[in-house]
Amino acid sequence: MKWKFSWEDLLLPLIGIAALFITWQLISSSQRTDLPSPSTTWEASKLLVLHPLEKRGEQDQGLLRLVWCSLILVAKGYPLGLLIGTPLGLLMGSSRWIYKIIDPIAQITRPVSPLAWFPLGVLLFKNLQSASVFAIAICSMWPTVVNTAKGVHAIPQDYWNVARVLKLSRWKTLFKIVIPATLPYMFTGFRLSLGLAWLVIVAAEMLTGAPGIGGFLYSEYNGAIYTHLVTCILTIGLTGLVMDRLMTVAENWLKSYTTI
């Protein structure tokens, strides 16, 4: 697909962003709120943004450093979620029995907030960091499970027939047919899971106080320093967007290889 530059794609989003900043400015100029205005926020956050890799203290670090700390935690919990979620999805997709066994558990577990999983994690692992990893893994795995199972269901009968006519073994069918055919669905799951993992990380850091973008936001709030709040929110949002876009590129690339 070719991307063509158009003014519409540049101008219209800018209008939206400008409107948001104007609203922010208007709200902050009202007397009844402590919300710092865009310019105050920028003045206070300049150091964080312009020296993104500087480390001045445990929580007082450049923005990229903080994001990096959070990403490391995601890099522990998210793969764990995929490692559990993908085989679970493949099993649910290929066996009606297993589907019926696991589906109710999935339905009940899925809506539980990361804040609720965290204490259980502490109880189980007696370690704050392991508890965050646990919360990330268990919260982020469900889109992967559901989409992988859906992908296995969507494999055309023709592909199964090929496996049956050639008498492929179970493992060969799994690696030569099921996984390649399911890959685009899996990746949709991986992408949604990554979004969730990023969502959980902020909550987890607030609870543990670990260094990271969420932990920083919370410690600033506790110290009644409000000038960094919006900067943190924007950083979290932008990081999520970048990760989502990268996953979308991978997803589209895979789709072009697995469909006729």
Partner: protein
């Protein structure tokens, strides 16, 4: 002894109260090296018939035997070319065929298997495209890959399920000639399912019409006595061609077009249930 034999085969789908009997009383006997075409209406159950022979479906009644042994499931002794190619889109032409060859001839050396794959890609004139994926090929090329894959596993019977129906007329004619050429060379036993009477006559030794469903059954077997190789242009003026054509179409439009009355469902009488007026 017949290589492939179907006896009293019946197949239906759906639960008892809403059942469609697709095929009923199918008897078919095909000898080694024969090319048989089965021609019928769309929706008559042609694909069901080929799936039964392939072992992808089990008959409700009757038996399917290959070399006297009842068929219990699919296997590489019956190579199938499906209507919609069924190539794996993430594999190249080479990989699609190699998957089949590696699976069926594990005892061979990898050089021998590679040679074998190449031979069959060459047979269907796709050597130039062997590194391409199905998505980069035209419909006709895809179907040739499917034919090469089915032939490369050296099946006892080659089952072709409307292999050319999705193609345009010109590609169709080219591929018909190609199938005939390959058959002349390999002398494989072939069952071709088609909805094109002319295609059946052009390719087969014997053409058998399949009646209108539900409860479709095979009509009289009509031998195609035209000498080979058959020239599609000359054949049109051959009186024997016209006679065979009329016979097949005569059956399909006459006796074979009648929808058979479904047998009324007889429920066991249960004294605890009040009798209902029949619908």
């Amino acid at each position: 002894m017949a290589l492939l034999e179907l006896q009293n085969v019946c197949k239906g789908f759906g639960p008892a109260e809403n059942r469609t009997e697709v095929l009923s009383n199918i008897n078919l006997s095909i000898s080694e090296g024969e090319f048989v075409a089965i021609v019928g209406y769309s929706g008559a159950g042609k694909t069901t018939l080929i799936s039964l022979i392939a072992g992808l479906l089990k008959p409700d009644v009757g038996t399917v035997c290959l070399e006297g042994v009842p068929v219990t499931g699919p296997g590489p002794d019956r190579g199938v070319v499906f209507q919609n190619y069924s190539l794996l889109p993430w594999m190249t032409v080479w990989q699609n065929i190699a998957l089949a060859v590696d699976q069926v001839f594990p005892q061979w050396t990898s050089e021998k298997r590679a040679e074998h794959v190449e031979k069959y890609i060459d047979m269907v004139n796709l050597t130039a495209a062997l590194g391409k994926r199905p998505g980069e090929l035209s419909g006709g090329m895809r179907q040739r890959v499917a034919v090469a894959r089915a032939l490369a596993i050296d099946p006892r019977v080659l089952l072709l399920d409307e292999p050319l129906s999705a193609l345009d007329a010109l590609t169709r004619a080219t591929l018909q000639d190609e199938i005939e050429r390959i058959w002349e060379r390999d002398q494989k036993t072939v069952v071709l399912i088609t909805n094109d009477v002319d295609e059946g006559i052009l390719l087969a030794d014997r053409i058998i019409p399949l009646s209108h469903g539900p409860q479709a059954t095979l009509g009289p077997s009509i031998p195609v006595t035209l000498s080979r190789p058959r020239n599609r242009k000359a054949i049109n003026h051959d009186p024997r061609f016209k006679k065979i054509r009329n016979e097949v179409i005569g059956y399909l439009l006459g006796e074979g077009s009648k929808q058979r009355q479904p047998v009324p469902t007889v429920l066991p009488i249960d004294s605890s249930m009040p009798l209902k007026a029949s619908a």
